[in-house]
């Protein structure tokens, strides 16, 4: 009683000192914003995942580094142009792009010098690069293979350039270089043509560019795309038509997503504002009260930001976006209050105070049950969910406090003078009473549908599915990748070691396992350092194995067959001298520094990294099926970590929506217990929770029936459905349990708040950005079901009638 009296005194003082109230409110908001503005905004989606060595966050980070988030692929086509003309145009374009300063890297094909440098480094050491050089030599000495390789060798000698390549041709009678080149071709899937990357049919040219600005800097990405477009317009036409320059990749996705999001946000914001204006005009015939209601939202957002600023010092962009939506439900508090005040008599302050008094208990219960849902989210193992819970929970709490403290004085001074009564059509709607049979039938139907379909509900952890990628853009991206044979790098094996040598040793074991899996058909496109940079230990072991080769016998075999094909007896002496040099260790082993200035240098830098904590050697591959990754995990050395984009999505990120669904269920149970305590009746508590429960079950059931997976964003809606649904139930129960029911305050309160939520968030279902769309669909379903149950089912259930009878008695 003391607290209530104190609050009433505060309201009276704030009303009489209204200017001070407004200034103080403004100062608090400004102070909060100033504090919040010091926070940095995190955009890395991986920051939402648990961190640490071998953690999902590290996996996501590695995948991002090896993926194409920040890469813009440029596909140049000049119809009818020869490969040489296309290469020249590509070279000119690359020069212009490099000089523009907008790109950190513009990669064309390796230069001839870089390609030759690979040969200079690797060919003399080829015997160290073969898994078993002795077996490789002996196998190639079989008559059929030897005849084929020597015939090919003769053709090479006949070529005009053989005048200068003759020595090298004769040093490789067994075709060992071809095997080495074949393994290197697996490393680089794109054909290099005259220093440019051309498609196999030589009609398209690829430039791989890395812009200076992050792809997520959407303004910079949009400007970059305009620059590329203007460069494309400057290209000379070919005999078959004008040149065409396509740009695909991260920056384009980001720029298009941003444009889509801006459009969606504008449309949904206008829709929401129009709906809120319409609702306030229809119900209250006042827009001033809309401003009063927005005061709570402003305090909620600022309160949430300050809480996150004080605890974390930074906020994730997704937390702010979706947390703000969650805090948006706080507009329900002033709406319930204003609606209740509108039916009271007396001076404005008296009416507001009476309205608060009438709805006080339900407001508190609604607030506590909502807060409980967010408190449960704080227990999540995902940092992203904890941050969301902190932001939204603190925001709701501050918004609730603002409702209790500020809405009464501001409402009393600003808008209540001309507040109209509840429109008659709303009261008439509230009088609609379906039969108890229909009410029970509705409850059972929702439960039955949920029971049948929820077990089939899918959880989607693939963050890319939340993006706004246009199908046409995605198709163009896939077309370019396919044209140039670019492989995805969503599956990696990370081998760690204290030194480069340790990491490479482990990498060699990984390569052996993956190559076996490749032979079985379980994986493909294995890109491994082992094919051109095995560990020193492996190279020394191979050198030792060469000692087993019977050089005299092998030489006799080669001389015999080559003699029959017309070669002189000493034609291949240089090859045997090389074998002897390798056996004796005269030829140095291959080391990473040797490859630095070759066409393989960039790949080595990408696959082999060292930091203060050690080195990692990464091997990428493509699994033929999802289960192959699980099988590989069992076969690979236990010290390695397998990172697979699909598995990460399925095993880790998909846990977030699962966890949210579970937490919502637990939250519902806790709400049930809390309300049972508050009402001193389990039946009434059950009735109050029914809209929230059926809202949750109905949403999940319908999503499952429609094969719409629950994702990170739509799962956030479950918390909102729980919070709103239970609030609706609490007010619906208040409506059926109190003696004086004729005012229709509770019915219209639920009708107004649910309509507001549907108009504000449910309309997001019309958005084209998939993340926003999925949120809108889930909220639309959940709020719609909860509201219908609260408005029409709860008042007519047996429990509701009993409660009403008990209250009347």
């Amino acid at each position: 009683m003391g607290a209530r009296r104190g609050l009433a005194t505060l309201h009276a003082w704030l009303t009489s000192h209204f200017a001070f109230t407004l200034v103080l409110s403004g100062a608090i908001l400004a102070g909060g914003l100033a504090l919040a503005s010091r926070m940095s905004v995190e955009q890395d989606i991986g920051a939402m995942l648990p961190d640490g060595p071998g953690s999902p966050r590290e996996a996501a980070r590695l995948l991002e580094e090896f993926g194409v988030l920040n890469v813009l692929l440029l596909d140049l086509e000049i119809p009818g142009a020869s490969p040489a003309e296309l290469s020249r145009a590509g070279n000119d374009l690359a020069s212009r792009l490099r000089s523009s300063g907008a790109f950190a890297e513009v990669l064309a094909g390796p230069t001839t010098e870089e390609v030759l440098a690979v040969g200079r480094v690797l060919f003399p050491r080829r015997l160290y690069l073969l898994d078993d050089p002795t077996s490789a030599i002996e196998e190639r000495l079989s008559p059929s293979k030897l005849q084929a390789s020597l015939t090919g060798l003769k053709a090479k000698l006949a070529a005009p350039q053989a005048i200068v390549t003759k020595g090298d041709v004769l040093r490789d009678p067994l075709g060992l270089n071809d095997e080495l080149l074949s393994s290197l071709r697996g490393v680089s899937s794109v054909q290099s043509h005259g220093g440019q990357l051309l498609s196999p049919d030589q009609t398209h040219l690829l430039l791989v560019t890395v812009p200076r600005a992050s792809a997520l800097d959407t303004d910079a990405s949009a400007a970059l795309l305009r620059r590329v477009e203007s460069e494309g317009a400057r290209l000379p036409a070919g005999p078959g038509g004008p040149a065409r320059l396509r740009a695909v990749g991260g920056p384009r996705f980001a720029a298009e997503s941003a444009a889509t999001v801006k459009h969606d946000v504008l449309v949904t914001m206008l829709t929401s504002i129009a709906a809120l204006v319409a609702i306030f005009v229809v119900r209250f015939r006042s827009l001033r009260l809309l401003a009063v209601a927005f005061v709570t939202l402003a305090f909620g957002i600022v309160g949430g930001l300050v809480a996150v600023a004080l605890v974390h010092g930074r906020i994730h962009a997704l937390t702010f976006a979706f947390g703000s939506v969650l805090i948006g439900i706080a507009i329900d508090y002033p709406m319930y209050l204003l609606n209740a005040a509108s039916v009271q008599a007396g001076a404005p302050l008296q009416r507001m105070s009476a309205g608060l008094e009438e709805s006080r208990r339900s407001l508190w219960l609604g607030f506590i049950t909502t807060l409980m849902a967010f408190a449960l989210m704080l227990l999540s193992k995902f940092p992203g969910l904890r941050e969301l819970a902190l932001f939204a929970g603190a925001g709701i709490a501050v918004a609730f406090a603002a409702t209790l403290i500020l809405v009464v004085p501001i409402g009393a001074r600003w808008g209540l003078q001309h507040l109209s009564a509840i429109p008659s059509w709303m009261l008439a709607l509230g009088a609609v009473r379906p039969s108890p049979l229909l009410a029970w039938g509705t409850v059972l139907a929702v439960i039955a549908v949920a029971a049948v379909s929820i077990p089939r509900l899918q959880f989607d952890g693939e963050l890319r599915h939340l993006d706004a990628q246009r199908p046409a853009t995605l198709a163009e991206y896939e077309e370019v990748r396919k044209r140039f044979g670019l492989q995805g790098t969503d599956s990696l094996v990370v081998a760690r070691g204290a030194t480069v040598e340790d990491a490479l040793r482990l990498s060699d074991r990984v390569a052996a396992t993956l190559l076996q899996a490749q032979q079985r058909g379980d994986v493909s496109h294995v890109v491994t350092l082992s094919s051109f940079l095995p560990s020193l230990q492996s190279q020394i072991a191979r050198r030792s194995r060469l000692a087993d080769l019977d050089v005299t016998a092998a030489r006799a075999t080669l001389t015999g067959v080559s003699g029959q094909l017309g070669f002189s007896e000493g034609a291949f002496d240089p090859f045997w001298r090389e074998v002897e040099s390798a056996r004796s260790g005269e030829i140095p082993l291959v080391q990473s520094e040797d490859l630095a200035n070759t066409s393989l240098g960039a790949l080595v830098r990408r696959l082999l990294r060292c930091s203060g904590s050690g080195c990692i050697a990464v091997t990428s591959f493509e699994p033929s099926r999802l289960s192959a990754v699980a099988e590989l995990r069992r076969e690979l050395p236990p010290e390695t970590v397998v990172i697979d984009g699909g598995a990460l999505a399925a095993d880790t990120v998909a846990q977030i929506p699962k966890q949210l669904a579970l937490l919502s269920g637990v939250g519902l149970l806790l709400n049930l217990l809390l309300l049972a305590f508050a009402y001193r009746s389990f039946g009434v508590s059950l009735l109050a929770c029914l809209p929230g429960a059926l809202g949750l079950l109905g949403t999940l059931g319908i999503l499952a029936l429609l094969h719409i997976p629950l994702n990170l964003v739509s799962a956030s809606a479950l918390v909102l459905i729980l919070g709103c649904g239970v609030d609706y139930g609490i007010f619906a129960v208040q409506g059926v349990t109190r003696a004086r029911r004729s005012s229709g305050v509770e019915f219209t309160g639920v009708l107004l708040t649910s309509t507001t939520t549907l108009a504000g968030i449910g309309t997001l279902a019309l958005a084209s950005y998939r993340a926003i769309q999925s949120l809108g669909v889930a909220v639309g379903l959940g709020i719609g079901i909860s509201a219908v149950v609260a408005l029409f089912v709860v008042p007519n259930l047996r429990g509701g009638k009993k409660a009403r009878e008990a209250a009347t008695a």
């Binding site: 010098e113 030759l116 006949a158 390549t165 003759k166 080149l181 440019q196």
Partner: protein, 196 residues
């Protein structure tokens, strides 16, 4: 990838010298200047120490002045070598795709193909900076070329070019320091000349 680094130090060491052609070669120069396209059959005979017998191949040479040069070798060792601008493209039968080299990014390699092209086109004006030129006979014209630098001499000991009375290239002989020799005989010339 077949053009191995061995030739790089050789050719990087080339120091072209500015030389003018002797007066006896003026008719040849005029004939070459008027040549727009040329195609001819060739028979190449290689005398290699590594082989007991001669290695004989046949094919077709085709070039457009200042444009594309194609050296096509007939089966069974079928291959195409195309020189165009700063790009050399090698296509060998059975290979999935051609190998192309940007000669501008690798000056040493560029010199090799420039020399090959100049020899096959009998372009003495481009050869004289690299080779000492001696006229063996004036009519029909016979010319021998000796490398001016030690670096080039490690690859080629001497080149001899023989022409017919109409200044068409009939025979090329390339002698290597290790004693190997390549003889290329041309026939069935089809020449398109620009009008005077």
């Amino acid at each position: 990838m077949d053009l191995l680094p061995v030739l790089l130090p050789v050719l990087l060491g080339l120091t072209p010298a500015k030389q003018s052609l002797p007066a006896d070669l003026t008719p040849l120069r005029e004939s070459l200047q008027r040549t727009v396209t040329l195609s001819a059959r060739f028979q190449q005979t290689k005398h290699l120490k590594a082989l007991q017998d001669q290695l004989v191949t046949t094919g077709q040479l085709h070039y457009r002045k200042g444009g594309r040069l194609l050296w096509h070798t007939d089966p069974p060792s079928e291959s195409d070598l195309v020189l165009e601008g700063t790009t050399a493209t090698l296509k060998v039968a059975g290979m999935s795709s051609a190998q192309a080299f940007d000669l501008s990014s690798e000056p040493g390699m560029g010199k090799v193909f420039e020399t090959l092209r100049a020899v096959l086109e009998a372009d003495l004006e481009r050869l004289t900076p690299l080779f000492e030129l001696r006229i063996i006979r004036a009519r029909p014209l016979g010319v021998s070329l000796k490398p001016r630098t030690e670096a080039l001499a490690r690859v080629l000991q001497a080149i001899q070019l023989d022409f017919d009375g109409q200044y068409r290239l009939l025979h090329v002989s390339l002698r290597e320091p290790d004693g190997d020799r390549t003889d290329i005989a041309f026939r069935d010339h089809v020449i398109e000349k620009a009008g005077r």
